[in-house]
Amino acid sequence: MSSSLTKPGTGKRNDSRRRFLLELGRSATGVTLLSFGIGLYSRQSASMPANAIRPPGALDEGEFAAACFRCGLCVRACPFDTLDLARLGDGVTTGTPYFTARDVPCEMCDDIPCVVACPSGALAPELEDIDQARMGLAVLLDQENCLNFQGLRCDVCYSVCPAINEAITLEHIPNTRTGKHARFIPTVHADACTGCGKCEHSCVLEQAAIKVLPLKLAKGELGRHYRWGWEEKENAGSSLVTPDGEHRYNLPSSKRYDFAGEGLLESGE
C-alpha cells in the first residue's frame, strides 16, 4: 500500500488514498491517545479509598473491575440501604457498589439479597452463608482513644458484633495505670470477622477507634519460610529442635511472677 503512495503519476486515486491514510492516521492517533488516558485513569481508580468497603461476596478488586456491570441491582436489593453506587468524583471506580461502614454498615442478611440480585457474578453466588463473607477486617486502630484500652467498660463494638465472641472478644490484661483493675481489650479475629462494620458504625468516639479496612490493608503475612514452633511441635508430637529444658526465671529482685494469671508483679503486691 505504501509503495503505491510513492509511485508517481497515479494521479487522483493516489491523492484520495493519501488523504484517506492521513485521515485514518489522524483519527487512529486521537483514539489511541484517548485510550491511553482511559487506561491510566483506570489504573489510578483501581485503588480504593480505605473506608470504601465492597458488598459481601465481592470478587478481588482486580477481578471486580472486569466483572461488575455497574448496574446497581445489588444497591436496590439491600433492604438497609447500605450500598451506594460510586459517582464520578467519589474516589471509588465510577458506577461500582460500595459502602461506608461508619455511615451504614452491612446488617449481614441471612439470605444475602445483594448477592442474589447480582446478574454478573461480581458478587460471587458461591457465597451462601453470610458468616463466610469477608468484606474487610475490623482493626482496632486507635489504642490511645479506645475507651476500653483506657480501662473503661465501653464494650460497644464488642456487644454489637453479629459474631460476638468469635469475631471479636474482650481479652483482659492488667491495668497498669490503676494497678488494680483489668483492661478488656476488644480483639478482632480474622477467621470470623466478616467486615460488616457494625463495630465501626457503633463506636462511641467522635472518630471510630475501630475501623473496617480492606483485607489487603488490614492483614499482615508471615514470611513464607516461617513456622510457629508450638504448632509444629504439636503436629510432630514432640519438639523438633533441642528438647525443652525446664523454664527458669531470672527476675530482678523487685519483681515476682504470679502463676495464677496476674503475670509479672512488683515484689510487694
Binding site: 483519527s27 485510550s35 482511559i38 483506570s42 456491570f69 446497581g72 441491582l73 458506577g95 446478574p119
Partner: protein
C-alpha cells in the same frame, strides 16, 4: 433564515404539524417513558424496572443486559454468569430485529442531548471545519475492547457518557455532568453530529448488531423525490440516504447499519417517499403497513 427554508416546512404545510412530527414525537415518548420506568422505582417506590441500562430486571423476572458490556467483561477476563448472558441474548435478539441503532434514537438518553446540540447548532447557523471520519467510532469500539483486555477491567465504563447519563439520573450524577457538558459543547461548536455520528463506540457496537436487522426504512416511492434535501438536513447519518434514494439500480431499502431507524426522514418528507418496512423486497410492497411493521417504541 427564511421561514420557508427550514427542513420539514413543506411537510408540515402538506401533512400538518402532527403528521410531520409523528416519529419524532413517538421517539421522544419512548426515550422519556423508558427513563420514567427506571425512575418510578427510586422516586415513588414502584419498582417496574430495577437497575439501569447496563443491566436491569423488569418486574422481577425479565433480565436485560447490554451485550456490549458482556463483551467487554469477557475481554477483561471475566465470564459473566447465566442471568447476565440470558439478559444479553434477549437484548441482542431485540436489536438484531429492530435495528441496532434503534437503541440510539429510541432509548439512549444521550441522544436527547446531542439532538438538542444539533438543533441549536442549526438555529445558530454554526459551521465548523472539523471533519472527523465517521468510522472513528469503530476505532473507538476496538479501543474499548483493547483497554478492557489490557487493563483487565471494563475501563470504558469509567467514562462512558451513555451509562453515566442514565445511571446519573437514577443513582445520582456526581461529576458525570462534566462529561455530558463536554459532549454537548463538542457537538455544538466543534463537530456536527460529532459524538453520536462519529465517535460513540456504543452506537458503533449497536450498528454492528443491527447489520442485518429486519426493520428498515424504505424509500419505495423514491421516484417521487423532488430533491428538496430535507431528509439530508435532518438525518443524523446523512450518508445512509443516498444509496437508497438515488441509486437507480440499488434496492430502495436504507441498508446501512448506521441508520438509526429514527424515522425523521419519513416525517419531513412532504412527498412520503419513505416508510418503515422490512429489509426484504416483496412483490407487493405497496401493501406493507408502516405502522404495523414499526413499533420500536416498545423497545427497552
Amino acid at each position: 433564515m427564511k421561514k420557508s427554508s427550514y427542513p420539514g416546512y413543506e411537510a408540515i404545510r402538506r401533512k400538518g404539524w402532527l403528521a410531520a412530527h409523528k416519529w419524532l414525537l413517538l421517539r421522544r415518548l419512548s426515550q422519556l417513558s423508558i427513563m420514567a420506568l427506571f425512575l418510578v422505582g427510586p422516586l415513588l417506590g414502584v419498582w417496574i424496572i430495577t437497575g439501569n441500562l447496563n443491566s436491569s430486571l423488569t418486574l422481577e423476572t425479565l433480565p436485560l443486559t447490554d451485550p456490549y458490556l458482556i463483551l467487554q467483561s469477557l475481554a477483561a477476563g471475566h465470564i459473566p454468569q447465566g442471568t447476565a448472558i440470558i439478559g444479553g441474548l434477549i437484548v441482542a435478539l431485540f436489536y438484531f430485529v429492530v435495528g441496532g441503532r434503534a437503541f440510539c434514537s429510541w432509548v439512549c438518553p444521550v441522544n436527547l442531548l446531542t439532538d438538542l446540540a444539533f438543533r441549536l447548532r442549526e438555529k445558530l447557523g454554526l459551521r465548523s471545519a472539523t471533519s472527523l471520519p465517521r468510522y472513528t467510532r469503530y476505532l473507538m469500539l476496538l479501543a474499548t475492547m483493547v483497554i478492557a483486555f489490557v487493563s483487565g477491567g471494563i475501563a470504558w465504563e469509567l467514562v462512558n457518557p451513555v451509562s453515566m447519563f442514565h445511571r446519573g439520573i437514577i443513582f445520582g450524577t456526581g461529576l458525570a455532568w462534566l462529561i455530558l457538558l463536554a459532549i454537548f459543547l463538542f457537538d455544538l461548536f466543534v463537530s456536527r453530529r460529532g459524538w453520536c455520528g462519529h465517535l460513540c463506540p456504543v452506537g458503533a457496537f449497536y450498528s454492528l448488531l443491527g447489520t442485518h436487522s429486519l426493520l428498515r426504512v424504505r424509500a419505495d416511492a423514491r421516484a417521487r423525490c423532488d430533491d428538496c434535501m430535507d431528509c439530508y438536513l435532518v438525518c443524523p447519518e446523512q450518508q445512509v440516504l443516498r444509496p437508497a434514494l438515488k441509486g437507480a439500480d440499488t434496492s430502495p431499502v436504507i441498508n446501512s447499519p448506521n441508520c438509526t431507524n429514527c424515522g425523521r426522514c419519513i416525517d419531513v418528507c412532504a412527498l412520503d417517499v419513505f416508510q418503515f418496512g422490512i429489509r426484504f423486497d416483496r412483490s407487493d410492497s405497496s401493501r406493507s403497513s408502516p405502522n404495523q411493521a414499526a413499533s420500536p417504541s416498545t423497545g427497552v
